[in-house]
Subunit: 318 residues, 2 copies
C-alpha cells in the first residue's frame, strides 16, 4: 500500500468534525483503503461480489443434508436474481459475477484422492484471477458448493493441526450421523495427506475444491492490483488461510466481512488476525456476509470524503 496516502487519510480523519477515533472501525476502513487506492480520499464505485461455484466428490459421502444437485440449482438461482446475495447486492449497488467451475465434473473424493492435480490447481487459481477482469474497486468473495464446508474444515485441519472435530461444524445444517460422517471424512482426508501438510499449496491441492483454489487466485490478483477484498465465511476464509500460510502479508488488503455461525470461523479469523465487520449469525455463504459489509465500507468512505473538518465547519475543537 501507499504509505503517504494512508498517512494523509489518517491525518484527515483527525481533522474531521468528530472526536478523534469516534467513528471507530469506519476510520480504519477509510485509512486502509486510502493506502491501497493510493489517494487521501478513496472511493468505491464498482463494488463486485464474485461467487465461485464448484462440485465435490466428498459430497457423495453424505456430509451435507442437501443433495449435490443443489449447487447447480443455486447457480441458476443466482443467475435468475432470486438468491439472498442478489437482494443484498441490489441494496448496496454491487455487481454480481458468478463463476461456474466445471460443475458437471466434481473433484475426486478427498478421502481417497487429491482434489486437483498440480496443473489443475494452477489453472483454477489463474481462472479465479478473472474476478478482477471487470475492474472492481472492491472485491467481495463468495462461494457455493454442497460439501465445501467439509473441504474448508479439511484445509484448516491440514494447516493448523488439532483434531478434526475442532474444525467441523454444521455448515448448512449437518447434525447427528451426517455430522459424524463429515468429521470422519475430514479426519481421513487429512490423514491421507499427512506427509504434505507443511506445504500450504499442497494442502490446497490435495484437500481443496475448485472454488477454494479460484478464490485464492482472486485474492492474490486483487493484492497485485491493489483492490481491497472482503471475505465472506468459513469456505472463503480457507482460501485466505492458504495464502496467509505462504506469506504473512498476503491478506493485508483483506477485510473479514463477517464472522459466521460456523463455530470454527471465529477461531480462524482470530488466527488470521482478521476482525470481522459484522456478527449476525449468518451461515449462508454465497457471498452474503461479504456483500452485507459493503454497506459499512460505503458508509466509512462517505464519512471520510463528505464530512467537514473542524476548521471548515467552524466548530470548536477539544
Amino acid at each position: 500500500p501507499d504509505e503517504a496516502a494512508r498517512a494523509a487519510a489518517a491525518e484527515r480523519q483527525r481533522q474531521l468534525v468528530k472526536p478523534p477515533g469516534a467513528l471507530g472501525r469506519l476510520e480504519e476502513i477509510a485509512i486502509r483503503i486510502a493506502g491501497w487506492q493510493g489517494r487521501e480520499i478513496p472511493a468505491i464505485n464498482r463494488p463486485t461480489v464474485a461467487v465461485f461455484a464448484a462440485t465435490h466428490g466428498v459430497a457423495g459421502r453424505g456430509v451435507s443434508p442437501y443433495p449435490p444437485e443443489v449447487t447447480k440449482q443455486m447457480v441458476a438461482t443466482f443467475t435468475n436474481g432470486k438468491a439472498a446475495v442478489n437482494q443484498i447486492c441490489g441494496v448496496f449497488g454491487a455487481g454480481l459475477r458468478v463463476f461456474d467451475l466445471a460443475l458437471d465434473l466434481p473433484t475426486p473424493d478427498i478421502v481417497e484422492q487429491d482434489a486437483l492435480t498440480e496443473a489443475e490447481c494452477a489453472a483454477t487459481m489463474a481462472f479465479g484471477m478473472e474476478a478482477l477482469a471487470g475492474e472492481p474497486d472492491l472485491l467481495c468473495l463468495g462461494e457455493m458448493g454442497i460439501g465445501n464446508t467439509t473441504v474448508a474444515a479439511a484445509i484448516f485441519h491440514g494447516l493448523y493441526g488439532g483434531e478434526a472435530e475442532e474444525w467441523v461444524g454444521p455448515g448448512t445444517g449437518s447434525t447427528g450421523e451426517v455430522l459424524a460422517r463429515k468429521i470422519a471424512a475430514v479426519r481421513a482426508a487429512v490423514a491421507r495427506s499427512k506427509a504434505h501438510l507443511d506445504d500450504p499449496l499442497e494442502v490446497l491441492r490435495k484437500l481443496g475444491g475448485r472454488e477454494v483454489a479460484a478464490m485464492a487466485g482472486a485474492i492474490l490478483a486483487a493484492r497485485l492490483q491493489r483492490v481491497p477484498v472482503v471475505l465472506d465465511g468459513y469456505v472463503v476464509t480457507a482460501a485466505a488461510a492458504v495464502l496467509k500460510a505462504l506469506d504473512p502479508t498476503a491478506l493485508d488488503h483483506c477485510f473479514a466481512g463477517h464472522v459466521s455461525a460456523e463455530p470454527a470461523h471465529r477461531v480462524v479469523l482470530e488466527r488470521l488476525g482478521l476482525r470481522p465487520l459484522l456478527d449476525l449469525d449468518m451461515r449462508l455463504g454465497e457471498g452474503s456476509g461479504a456483500a452485507l459489509a459493503i454497506g459499512v465500507v460505503k458508509a466509512a468512505l462517505a464519512c471520510h470524503a463528505g464530512m467537514s473538518t473542524f476548521a471548515e465547519a467552524g466548530v470548536a475543537d477539544a
Copy 2:
C-alpha cells in the same frame, strides 16, 4: 404487533431458498418488522434519522473536553449536510430531521437542581413525538448535546444503582480530571435525587436532559404507530431504559443499532435484552450507529421480499 403477520413471515423464511436460519439475524429483523407492519412482506421506504439536540447546565462543570457551544455548531453542521450522520443517511437513502430543543436555554445543572419541571418534561416528551410527523416507516434516533453522556450515566445510575464509576465512561473523550469531575457530578446528581429513584419518570425529569425526554416521547409514539425504532448509543439508550423501567414491553419495537465504545453501553443493552446489530467501536452519537444499521435492516427486508422459495426456484430442499 400483528402475530398472524409475524407467523406468516416466519413461515416464509422457512420456505426461502436457503438452509433454515442461515440468514441469522436478518431473518429475525424481517419477522419482527412484519409483525409491526402487519404484513407478511414488510417494506421500509421512508427510513428517517431524527437527531435531538439539547444543552445541559452540567456541562459548565467541565465534564467534557469540548465547550458547550459545540452543540449549536454541530446542529449547524447537520443542517449544512457535513456531519457524519449526513453522509451515512446519504448512503442508505434515509431522511434526516434535526430537532433543536431550546439550545439557548440549557437545562439546570443536575447536581443542584432538577433538569425539568413536570410540565416541561411532559411537553418535551410530546415534542419528541413530532419525530413521527413525517410518517417514517423506520425511525432511527440520535442526539447531540455536550454533557449528555454525563446525563445518561446519571439516569442509568439512578435506575440501576451501583456506583457512579460503573456508568461513567469517556464519552467524547473525557479523561483524567475531566473524567473525575464527570463521575463526581453523576454521583452528586443521583444522591440529590435519591428519594425518587423508584419512579423512572422522576429519574428522567430530575436527571435527564431535553433530548432524552424527547427521545423517550419518540419511542413511545413510534410504538403506538407501530413504527420500528433503531436506537443509537449510550444517550439514546438512556431514554429507552426509562421506558423499559415503566413497562417491560416498551421496547418490543426497538432494535439496538450498535453497541458503542462507551464501556457501560454493552452492560445496559444486555440489561434491556437488546442485542446490537453492529459493533464497530463507534462513539460519536448524532444517530450515526443507528443510521449505519439501516443498511442491515434494508438487506434483511430485501432478502425476505426478493428471494425465491425452494418451490419457485426448483431447488431440492434438505
